[in-house]
């Protein structure tokens, strides 16, 4: 079966997105993690743009622009500023057992493709198979939140989760209504600011951004 060129391109971008999430999962340096996050945003904006072009959905152009401004420029810039102010720019995180994490990640990808298989059957044209990739990225970002111990990298994982969801919304469907997308973008932006406030409060109180210091609240 001949696959249209444009669809091949979207599929290529989707696989790149998945690759970036894997790279983030294994990345130990906080600075590189933020740069990877910016790349992820860039791929997302490009894929949204391509989908907008191929389906002639004008409001998707706005989404693409919003993604570019928010996720490629504004949020990475904010994070860079934050880590400079917090003096954690060159921090390296000790991750336990990257190979095992990677294997679990591969398992999650297989699981999500299976879960999404019946849905992929339903979708026609451009969207086929992309839901599986989106779901896999969501689960991988969740895995990343679990394995990280530094507050900053947990937040990057959270934002990557948001990116994966956005990818699901624009590429698997034809983009959510614009008012909803604006609402989501606003929430993400406010959340990042609040995270920023938190970093300072946490460091002031615990003298480190390591969350292992904070496991005091337990039942019993």
């Amino acid at each position: 079966m001949q696959i249209p060129l444009i669809l091949q391109f979207v599929n290529l971008l989707a696989s790149l997105l998945l690759l970036v999430v894997f790279a983030m999962l294994a990345q130990r340096r906080i600075l590189s993690l933020i740069n990877l996050f910016a790349w992820q945003g860039g791929i997302l904006a490009l894929s949204t743009f391509v989908v907008a072009y191929s389906t002639a959905q004008h409001h998707l152009y706005y989404s693409a622009g919003l993604t570019l401004i928010l996720k490629v420029l504004l949020l990475p810039w904010l994070l860079h500023r934050l880590i400079r102010k917090l003096n954690v720019r060159w921090d390296v995180e000790t991750l336990i057992n990257i190979p095992t994490t990677m294997l679990v990640g591969i398992g999650l990808v297989i699981f999500s493709f299976n879960l999404a298989a019946p849905i992929s059957q339903l979708s026609e044209g451009i969207t086929r198979g992309l839901i599986g990739i989106a779901l896999a990225s969501v689960l991988l970002s969740l895995l990343m939140m679990l394995t990280r111990r530094k507050a900053v990298s947990q937040v990057v994982a959270f934002l990557s989760l948001e990116n994966s969801l956005f990818f699901a919304a624009t590429s698997a469907t034809q983009g959510m209504p614009l008012v909803v997308e604006f609402g989501i973008a606003l929430d993400v932006l406010v959340a990042t600011f609040i995270f920023g406030i938190f970093f300072f409060q946490i460091r002031e109180t615990f003298e480190s951004l390591d969350i292992t210091n904070m496991e005091k609240l337990k039942d019993d």
Binding site: P118, I119, V180
Partner: protein, 485 residues
């Protein structure tokens, strides 16, 4: 037309939030906060009257939808938000006097309190499944800085946990919403209408069942994190225990209800599409698990606010279970229990707040003899505990009785589990509260008189509704139950 009432309802807390963001550090900020909450309550009453007169309707280009189900929650939310603002006025002043809070922290508190009310009311009234998500996330964002208001290590940890866990949960709900949109788009086209609940409800029979099934799992897990369903509940006791008491009261009494409302909106769609009891079974399972686990954890608690937070998990589990059973009677009972739980639990948190201020600790084994210190606080806590434990003649008894009898009829195997869990909860809470209220004391007096009028208003309402329910109110609940099926 309800445009005007709805506009008043939503614009008042939003204006309040903005005005208090500017003037929140003035000495009259607490009064302004109460005034704004009072106006919101008046607007909600006007809206309720309009909807009861003329039935369900949409407003503002179909972006908002009000029916008997959500207008009841709107009225409840606005009422409890109002009484909590009355309670928080002296409470927060005492905290300030004790040196726990600064003026700038109070500034943040007042502004965020109004914006939180606004976010909850938007989540309740919107017709757009996407906006429900946005408003739920906004409700988290406005409260997260309130949980860490005291800036103690424990409160920071609680707030971080709340933020991360609810963030993840709500992200899963967004994935569910996207799947819902994916299914709806194929039927309704990709205009702006494919996420409007009223449109979805009309075509729910032709939505693709496989997609909706998966969507509901994500929506339930996502919003379920917010409801505090086990095993996604671990943020809830921390956030309730470490935040200021008025925040615990509104989180427990209101936010959990709003999240449940979002789940119920989704359930109606999924039931229509699947035509079987899939969504109901899932909710029953989560609900039952929450009731049992919360009851077992109750007896291990040492912190008084943590204990009542677990009691909230238990009651939300019971309500989710009742909604899951479905049918007119169970849904009626669930709606009634939502009302009773909100009123009683916020009243309990009010008295607990003052009790903790008097004793200077949240540790239960160091709180003794409240009755000697202040008979009103003592009686308030005792009566509130009786009410929440489902003692007749309080209203909680009526709703729990209805839920258990329905369970006995429809799902007999669940009855022993429910009764045992409620029994364990009773023993745990009553055994703890009794020595706190009676017994010898070591308390100090407060610099401002405590606000206990809201407590007794709430308990009186719960008592009255337990003894006698007016016909129009019962009719209103029945109509709401009929809408949810």
């Amino acid at each position: 037309m309800i445009d005007l009432q709805l506009l008043a309802l939503l614009a008042t807390p939003l204006t309040g939030g903005i005005v208090l963001a500017v003037f929140g550090s003035r000495s009259w900020a607490a009064e302004l906060n109460s005034l704004m909450s009072g106006c919101t309550f008046v607007a909600s009453v006007l809206l309720t009257i309009a909807v009861i007169d003329s039935g369900p309707q949409v407003a503002f280009k179909e972006q908002f939808f009000i029916d008997q189900f959500n207008v009841f929650l709107v009225a409840l939310t606005a009422f409890v938000a109002f009484t909590t603002s009355l309670f928080s006025r002296p409470y927060m002043r005492i905290e300030q006097h004790h040196g726990k809070l600064s003026t700038s922290m109070l500034h943040l508190y007042y502004s965020m309190y109004q914006l939180f009310t606004f976010a909850m009311l938007v989540a309740l009234t919107t017709n757009n499944m996407g906006i429900i998500w946005v408003a739920m996330e906004a409700a988290t964002l406005t409260t997260v800085l309130l949980v860490s208001l005291y800036r103690t290590p424990a409160s920071l940890e609680a707030a971080w946990k709340y933020f991360i866990l609810c963030g993840v949960g709500i992200a899963l709900a967004l994935f569910g919403t996207i799947l819902l949109y994916f299914a709806a788009e194929r039927v309704l086209g990709d205009g702006g209408t494919a996420l409007l609940w009223t449109h979805l409800n009309e075509v729910k029979g032709s939505l693709e069942p496989t997609v909706l099934k998966l969507a509901f799992v994500f929506l339930l897990v996502g919003y379920g994190t917010k409801i505090g369903l086990v095993p996604l509940h671990s943020w809830l006791p921390d956030a309730h225990a470490e935040g200021p008491t008025p925040v615990s009261a509104v989180l427990s009494g209101l936010l959990l209800n709003v999240a449940l409302c979002a789940v119920m909106r989704s359930k109606v769609l999924v039931d229509g599409s699947l035509g079987n009891h899939f969504a109901g079974n899932l909710m029953m399972g989560f609900g039952l698990l929450s009731v049992v686990v919360a009851a077992l954890f109750l007896s291990r608690q040492k912190d008084i606010k943590r204990m009542f937070a677990y009691s909230s998990i238990e009651h939300m589990g019971l309500i989710t279970f009742a909604f899951g059973m479905g049918g007119q009677v169970a849904t009626f009972a669930a709606l009634l229990h939502m009302t009773m739980h909100s009123l009683t639990k916020s009243a309990i948190f009010f008295t607990v707040g003052h009790a903790v201020q008097k004793m200077g600790t949240q540790q239960m084994d160091r709180i003794r003899g409240l009755m000697h210190v202040s008979p009103t606080v003592g009686w308030g806590l005792m009566l509130g505990t009786f009410a929440i434990l489902g003692m007749p003649p309080f209203g909680v008894f009526a709703s729990e009785f209805l839920i258990i009898t329905t369970a006995m009829h429809d799902y007999p195997w669940t009855t022993p589990i429910l009764v045992a869990a409620l029994g364990i909860a009773f023993a745990a809470i009553f055994g703890r509260v009794q020595p706190m209220v009676f017994g010898e004391t070591s308390a100090k007096s407060l610099p401002h008189p405590p606000a206990l009028i809201p407590v007794f208003i709430h308990l009186l309402l719960v008592l009255i509704l337990g003894l006698y329910m007016p016909d129009y109110l019962a009719g209103w609940y029945r109509q709401a139950a009929a809408l949810l099926g």
